[in-house]
């Protein structure tokens, strides 16, 4: 059996809060998750859901209250694990007195590259993220989008096997987002595993093999973007044209939206055949019948609203 690229086991993080730091607030609650080699995994959730906490725990920037995680079979406490990973923090900040070229050269020194290999890599990755012409400009003069590109370059500079990207599309214009999508797809082609958090659900739908939705520190669901939404209640959409003089039945007339000369109506799946029969009886021309599947966004919003509607005590008592 292959070792999973990322294996998160009951990962929990509590933060001490309050003046005396006696109360504990749970930021991540018993997260268990597995990501296979070569997968693009999207980590979705509203602000404060625990996405960045999870990534920080995996990077060893903060320490878990309980649980553990392994990356390519190595514990997150093992510094050797870091040889195989790349990480783009949320809203990355770098040494602003360095140029992008110097920054990448600095980071490349943590791997065993010769000076010539380092130079070559730095140039290659500056080109890859579109910063070749701005490579000698100090980072303090960079825009947010340029910093994001520099951040992506440093995350993939050493050909890591697993790449963690915290909100990689944040601050990028549509062209930049498209380029980042291309980079992520390229990484997948090379067999890399990409784990990224995002608010932009269309990106997740477009790129991810699987997504996990986190809300209130808890994992709410994991699956392929298509799979995760199919568990929702379906409706059926009928698109039709009215013909002749016969009036439409009231039930359909009331619920229908007129678009030009056409009507669109949503009916419950169980009532589909009855609705079609009614339309047939009034000589309507059926243009299409299609299932209405909620988008990932609908699913996401529903989860978040449910979370907000059922307040639960996330504070835990220090033992």
């Amino acid at each position: 059996m292959n070792t999973p690229a990322i294996e998160i086991i009951s990962l929990t993080k509590d933060y001490a809060v309050g003046f005396w730091r006696k109360r504990m607030r749970r930021s991540l609650d018993n997260l268990t998750l597995q990501v296979e080699e070569g997968e693009i995994f999207g980590f979705l959730g509203p602000n404060g859901a625990g996405k960045t906490t999870t990534l920080k725990l995996l990077m060893g920037l903060i320490f878990p209250t309980a649980g553990t995680a392994r990356i390519r079979g190595r514990s997150i406490d093992d510094v050797r694990m870091h040889r195989d990973i790349g990480y783009l923090p949320e809203q990355p900040y770098f040494y602003d007195y360095l140029t992008a070229r110097e920054l990448l050269d600095y980071y490349a020194r943590f791997w065993d590259y010769s000076a010539a290999e380092r130079r070559e890599r730095v140039e290659q990755f500056l080109n890859r993220v579109g910063l070749a012409s701005a490579g000698n400009v100090q980072l303090r003069k960079y825009s947010k989008g340029m910093l994001q590109r520099a951040g992506i370059a440093q995350a993939i500079l050493h050909d890591p096997k697993v790449i963690f990207l915290d909100e990689p599309m944040s601050g990028l214009d549509p062209v930049g987002r498209h380029e980042v999508r291309d980079i992520i797809l390229d990484l997948k082609k090379q067999g890399r595993t990409v784990f990224f958090s995002t608010h932009i659900l269309s990106d997740a739908e477009m790129l991810c093999d699987r997504v996990g939705v986190l809300s209130g520190g808890k994992l709410q669901g994991v699956g392929a973007p298509g799979e995760i939404v199919s568990i929702e209640v379906h409706a059926m959409e009928i698109l039709f044209e009215a013909r002749g003089d016969r009036p439409l039945p009231h039930e359909l007339q009331d619920g229908a939206t007129k678009i030009g000369g056409r009507y669109r109506v949503e009916v419950a799946e169980a009532g589909l055949y009855a609705a079609l029969a009614q339309l047939e009886s009034c000589d309507a021309r059926i243009l299409s019948v299609s299932p209405v599947r909620p988008t990932l966004e609908d699913y996401f919003l529903k989860l978040v609203r449910r979370e907000q509607a059922t307040p639960h005590e996330m504070e835990v008592t220090r033992l």
Partner: protein, 259 residues
Amino acid sequence: MSATTGPVAINTFREAVRDRVLYNLIFFALVMIGAAIFVGQISIGIERLVIVNLGLSAISLFGLVMAIFIGVGLVSKEIEKRTLHSLLAKPIRRWEFLVGKYAGLLLTLTVNTAFMTLGLAGALFYVGRPFVRPDVSIVIAIYFILLALALVTALALFFSCFSSPMLSTLFTLAIYITGIFAKDIRDIGEFTRSPLLKASARVVYYVVPNFHNFNAIASAAHGESIPFSLVVQNTLYAACYVTLLLLASSAIFSNRDLK
């Protein structure tokens, strides 16, 4: 230096070198050494004493300012600006990062001290004074200043691992000043009748680094020779303290959650 601490040290040095504040400090230090020439000229017969005294004091004072103000920001600035997040995702242990930062600042201080020493040598050369054998004590005094700066940097780094730059500055300064008067504090303790005060004074004397031992400015100014045993003693003393402080800093920083 390990493969991971080296790049951190070089980057820390580069950061300091690109900071304009540093140049201002060096400028003021050189101005002070230059002023020593003027004061020396109006001090008939004790020109050397005045120039060496003022010159070494300037090197010590400005070195101290750099050690504290850059030292307290070594870790806290990286945490505050979140530059640590991408760095610690690389194959580097937290203690290696700390040692790298420490080594980088020490390198900066050494280079600056070397520049200021050149300034002092230039001042002595300007007044037409030949270099003589007792001048070795000036070099030793500068070495002691560097040892004291190494200790101050380690203290600043230690405090910056768990407190804000403002508090770290206050703590480091407080310990430095207490350390200068450590012997006097012990002596005061000996004169009191209160056993508690006596014990407290002794604790302060043994816990706080004794910075008075590193002050050889007066000996250097008077051209007195400094015993080699003191050089060895001060080197070992500083090395032990710095090691302990770096170990304590690593222990604290290695278990700290980064926001």
